[in-house]
């Protein structure tokens, strides 16, 4: 098995899992799915610089070869941005749960989640 196959298949599996989870009907799996999608996307972006092993990304007169530093720089910012996004989405999920009493995102609402107060709110 080549390294390229490993990375490509890992990206594929992470993407598939991310997509599936993002399509679930509650907030938390959606957050998990987005996190997985960010792993997959970051890996993909990184892979556009091609895979190299044991070559420095640091300038060195003795070096015989080197990696492509640009995708690395882009992915570094992407990782931090993904953190910002995940943090925001988690907090959004939390707030909406606290506000509405349900963590569903399919536009419906199962009766088990409803409190007496919400019931009154609906009827009012």
């Amino acid at each position: 098995m080549s390294l390229e196959f490993l990375v490509a298949s890992a990206v594929a599996v992470l993407t598939a899992a991310g997509l599936y989870l993002a399509l679930r009907a509650r907030t938390f799996p959606v957050v998990l799915g987005l996190a997985m999608l960010s792993y997959a996307v970051n890996l993909f972006l990184f892979a556009t610089g091609r895979l190299v092993v044991d070559l420095p990304p640091i300038y060195d007169k003795a070096a015989t070869g080197y990696t492509d530093a640009l995708p690395q720089a882009l992915v570094l910012t992407a990782i931090v941005i993904s953190f910002g996004m995940t943090a925001f989405v988690v907090v959004l999920a939390l707030r909406s749960y606290l506000e509405t009493g349900t963590d569903q995102v399919d536009g419906r609402r199962s009766p088990a989640d409803m409190t007496a107060e919400d019931e009154q709110g609906r009827q009012a």
């Binding site: 490993l6 938390f28 300038y59 570094l76 990782i79």
Partner: protein, 935 residues
């Protein structure tokens, strides 16, 4: 534009400024006029968006001169009229400013050399017209009329934009002066027909051609000065103007004559017939305007130079008598309080001046000798006689004569049923208006009369050069005189007058027997309502109210697009593959297993979190193996912070996800997900197996050290070459943190606050808790770790420019060091010791980065260029200081601020749901403070 501020100074000052500005522009224009008529073309051009071909270029040729003169001249009269017309309590400032704005935009249309600029002004007239029609915004019919006008003319403007873009594309330039020289190229192009149709769409909507005419009568809800100005003399002529402007390149083809002339003829007929049966004075005039616009369009549509010259003549005539009549209708409304023809009559006796003016203007409109309208109508009939459709040479003149007969009838009805006949009681006792109201229309009537009596002297000097400008010098000078001898046109004219009089006489019976007219506004409303309903259904089908649906559509669409783009490309490239070591395979397997487990076990949320951190760890290891130490460091520290954050959030969220989705939906999602994963994986494979283009990496590699002064190329790219990206990124991070703050800081109130309070009251039952809140060992260890972690962070930060590390990673390490303190001793304790609020950290970080960048500008270098130098200190040795480091400090501060803000806010919300009293001591058992504490 000066008039706006001037109205603050008082009404007279504002009106005076408006008048002075218009008058000054008119004088300026007249100063240029002799030169223009002699063949000079003054031009101004300023590049605006040269990349789009959009230049602010203006030019003044005879056609532009004629229209600019009409706009400014009638504008001046209308301003004078409006001064007397508006009531004291109206919003004068708004009215005059928008009217002047319209005037400026209209001038822009007729003077623009760049067609894109023309569209900009075109839309500007639609917008100002909307504001003016809706001037009395407390009346529903005003709002409705304004909305309808905006929808029709605005969407027409979009068509026009598309058409002119096509035209410019064919001609290779967006400058009119160039386009006008490319007749052969344009008419031979396969895109000629689409461009023509789109441009005509714009012109026909603006100039109220059938079947888009319905907005114009509805626009009569505007104050009368606006109707007189926009809806008779200027704005509605913009479409005619553009037809005339583009006549040299567009006209003369089969398509042009078969589309433009019949539509013009139809409009002329429909407008004239409907006008006769209008009972509202302004409605009658509006339909008559529609009819006359149709006449103009028809003349231009004939495609012969002579007909185009007649159109030019009629533009002037129509502007004169129609604006005068609108002003007159305003006078009647003003004096009697009614515009209903059925309720008016015999006004001549009490309003002789207004009556005389109306009589003269209406006679010109009817085309009676010896007025201007007679000459242009006769010439029009003459042209109609020369026009044959197929083998049929009588239908055009016949229909034109019918329209002319209707026109005689409604013109005389205006005079006969309002000023003559029996006197009717009116809401107000009428008398002749003050001079401010009748004088402007009197000036126009004088022109209309002179245009008939001495046409060559009055209009010849301008009409001939303009006709030359429109037709490119092909038209013979018109023979402008009243008496051409007994010609077929004269006979038709006489016939039209006779039939017109009969129609007027039969008005009463006709009114009772005519078929009901289709109600265009109602059809329009139904269309709009249907469009709204349709888009609502569409929107609902795509997203609201379910996120699942939105995402599924999004994923499926992107998948389809990606599949379409990538279909048929060879999958594998030529790059030799790298062999995988056993360790790599183990890590790969770990990632796959953890991913599978997360999918299967995602309902058990804590477990899923643990598993997802395994994936993060695996990805970090992959980065280590694949020569990306910076990424590995970043990934692992971000991983820690993310998991902490999710744990905190999960404390308040439900701990599990009871299944909601039907098996079918899960199957569908699973298939979609697998297809997406496969596509992305194949894409990654295809990229990785191809031989890369090394230009860009080589450039960075060669320039990082000499240009950026650092050996860590990744870091140099981040803080120097792509510093602007990084700058934007930390701003995004700061905004996310502030968003989190905004979301969580308000949870104490409203439904969320009540829910939190309920939770607190319920005592958090069901949540297993450790008996030790702040364990001694953890607290002590965290205190020891803090300085160590800070030093590590500093080390990572300082070496970042040359070795793996840098501001991002250092910031994350600092944050983790601080978070450990929060974890060990609780939010209250840590918060008490916090000196600098997180907001300040975020702000300071962004500002530090911005000032570093601005420093470079001060030195005359591009934003965010870094400078550097080497310094030698005893003991430490030689080291480097770069301004990039200041930037990196900014990055670091922002990261710390953002992370801390997110987590401490979450912790604070969790605190609200706690039952236990706030605990401000560092640990449960404090041996130093409480020697007996160890029970």
């Amino acid at each position: 534009m000066l008039a706006g501020p001037a109205f603050r100074l008082g009404r007279p000052a504002g009106v005076a400024t408006a008048l002075a500005g218009t008058a000054a522009a008119l004088v300026l224009l007249l100063g240029l006029a002799p030169g223009v008529l002699a063949g000079q073309v003054p031009r101004v051009s300023v590049p605006w968006l040269p990349a789009l071909g959009l230049n602010a270029s203006l030019f003044l040729d005879p056609l532009g001169l004629l229209f600019a003169g009409l706009i400014l001249g009638i504008g001046l009269l209308v301003l004078l009229y409006a001064r007397a017309y508006l009531h004291a309590e109206e919003a004068w400032g708004r009215f005059f400013v928008v009217l002047l704005l319209f005037q400026g935009a209209m001038l822009g249309i007729v003077l623009a050399d760049n067609v894109l600029l023309l569209v900009v002004f075109w839309e500007l007239t639609s917008l100002t017209s909307f504001l003016l029609i809706g001037y009395w915004n407390d009346r529903p019919e005003s709002r409705r009329g304004a909305r309808m006008a905006l929808v029709v003319t605005g969407s027409g403007g979009l068509l026009l934009l598309a058409g002119l873009l096509l035209l410019g594309g064919i001609a290779g330039s967006f400058e009119l002066s160039v386009i006008l020289t490319r007749r052969e190229a344009i008419q031979a192009s396969p895109l000629y027909l689409p461009a023509l149709l789109l441009i005509l769409g714009g012109c026909f909507t603006k100039s109220a051609q059938f079947p888009f005419h319905f907005w114009l009568p509805q626009a009569m809800a505007a104050p009368t000065p606006v109707s007189a100005y926009l809806h008779s003399a200027t704005m509605v002529k913009a479409g005619v103007f553009l037809l005339a402007r583009l006549w040299p390149v567009l006209a003369g083809t089969e398509a042009w004559s078969t589309i433009v002339a019949p539509i013009g003829l139809a409009t002329m007929l429909v407008g004239a017939a409907v006008a006769l049966f209008q009972n509202d004075l302004k409605g009658l005039l509006a339909y008559s305007t529609v009819s006359h616009l149709g006449l103009l369009v028809m003349l231009l549509g004939f495609g012969t130079p002579a007909a185009a010259a007649v159109a030019v003549l009629h533009i002037v005539n129509h502007a004169a008598f129609k604006a005068a009549l609108f002003m007159n209708a305003g006078i009647v409304d003003h004096e009697t309080g009614s515009r209903d023809i059925r309720a008016l009559g015999g006004l001549y006796a009490v309003m002789p001046i207004a009556g005389t003016l109306a009589l003269l203007a209406a006679a010109s409109m009817a085309g009676l000798p010896p007025f201007g309208g007679f000459i242009s109508k006769e010439l029009m009939l003459e042209e109609a006689l020369h026009t044959a459709w197929g083998a049929n040479d009588w239908i055009v003149p016949a229909l034109a004569t019918v329209a002319a007969a209707f026109s005689v009838a409604y013109s005389l009805r205006y005079v006969g049923h309002v000023y003559l006949g029996p006197r009717m009681p009116t809401p107000k006792a009428p008398h002749d208006p003050p001079a401010g109201l009748w004088l402007p229309s009197a000036i126009l009537v004088v022109i209309a009369v002179l245009a008939g009596i001495a046409p060559q002297t009055t209009l010849g000097w301008i009409v001939t050069p303009v006709a030359d400008a429109v037709t490119g010098g092909l038209a013979d000078p018109l023979s402008l005189k009243l008496w051409h001898g007994v010609t077929p046109a004269l006979l038709l004219s006489i016939l039209a007058v006779g039939v017109g009089l009969m129609l007027l006489g039969a008005h009463g019976p006709l009114e009772r027997t005519r078929p009901p007219m289709p109600q265009a506004p109602r059809i329009f409303d139904a269309l709009v309502a249907a469009a709204v309903r349709g888009s609502r259904v569409f929107t609902h089908a795509l997203h609201e109210p379910s996120l699942q649906r939105t995402l599924a559509v999004l994923f499926a669409t992107s998948l389809a697009l990606a599949g379409l783009a990538g279909w048929g490309l060879p999958l594998t490239g030529d790059r030799p593959r790298l062999p995988a070591s056993p360790v790599a395979i183990i890590v790969w397997f770990g990632i796959l297993a953890a991913t599978g487990a997360v999918v299967v076990l995602h309902r058990r949320r804590f477990l899923a979190l643990v598993l997802i951190s395994v994936i993060g760890l695996g990805v970090s290891l992959a980065f280590v193996h694949l020569s990306a130490p910076d990424l590995a460091l970043t990934q692992i520290s971000v991983e820690i912070v993310t998991i902490l954050l999710m744990l905190l959030a999960l404390n308040l969220l439900p701990k599990d996800s009871p299944p909601l989705d039907a098996p079918m939906r899960r199957l569908r999602d699973g298939l979609l997900a697998c297809a997406g994963g496969l596509a992305v994986g194949l894409g990654a494979w295809a990229v990785m197996t191809r031989i890369p283009d090394r230009t860009l990496p080589d450039w960075f590699w060669a320039n990082a050290y000499p240009g950026g002064g650092g050996t860590n190329v990744v870091n140099v790219i981040l803080v120097d070459f792509r510093g602007f990206d990084t700058f934007g990124e930390i701003i995004v991070l700061g905004i996310a943190a502030l968003g989190i703050y905004a979301l969580l800081d308000t949870t104490a109130r409203g439904a969320a606050g009540r829910r939190l309070a309920r939770r607190a009251a319920a005592g958090g039952e069901g949540t297993p808790r450790s008996p030790e809140r702040h364990p001694l060992m953890l607290v002590v260890a965290s205190r020891v770790i803090l300085p160590l972690a800070v030093v590590t962070g500093l080390f990572i930060f300082l070496r970042g420019h040359n070795m793996p590390g840098g501001g991002f990673i250092a910031g994350l390490v600092f944050s983790i060091a601080l978070l450990v303190q929060y974890m060990a001793s609780g939010w209250d304790w840590a918060q008490q010791r916090q000196r600098i609020p997180e907001h300040a950290l975020v702000a300071a970080g962004v500002l530090a980065a911005a000032f570093t960048g601005l420093g470079a500008i001060l030195l005359g270098l591009p934003f965010l260029t870094s400078g550097y130098d080497y310094f030698t200190l005893p003991v430490v040795g030689e080291f480097e200081l770069a301004t990039a480091m200041l930037f990196d400090i900014g990055v670091s501060l922002t990261v710390v601020g953002a992370v801390m803000m997110a987590l401490s806010q979450l912790a604070r919300v969790a605190q609200r749901a706690e039952t236990l009293p706030a605990d401000r001591s560092p640990m449960d058992i404090d041996p130093s403070r409480d020697p007996e504490g160890a029970r």
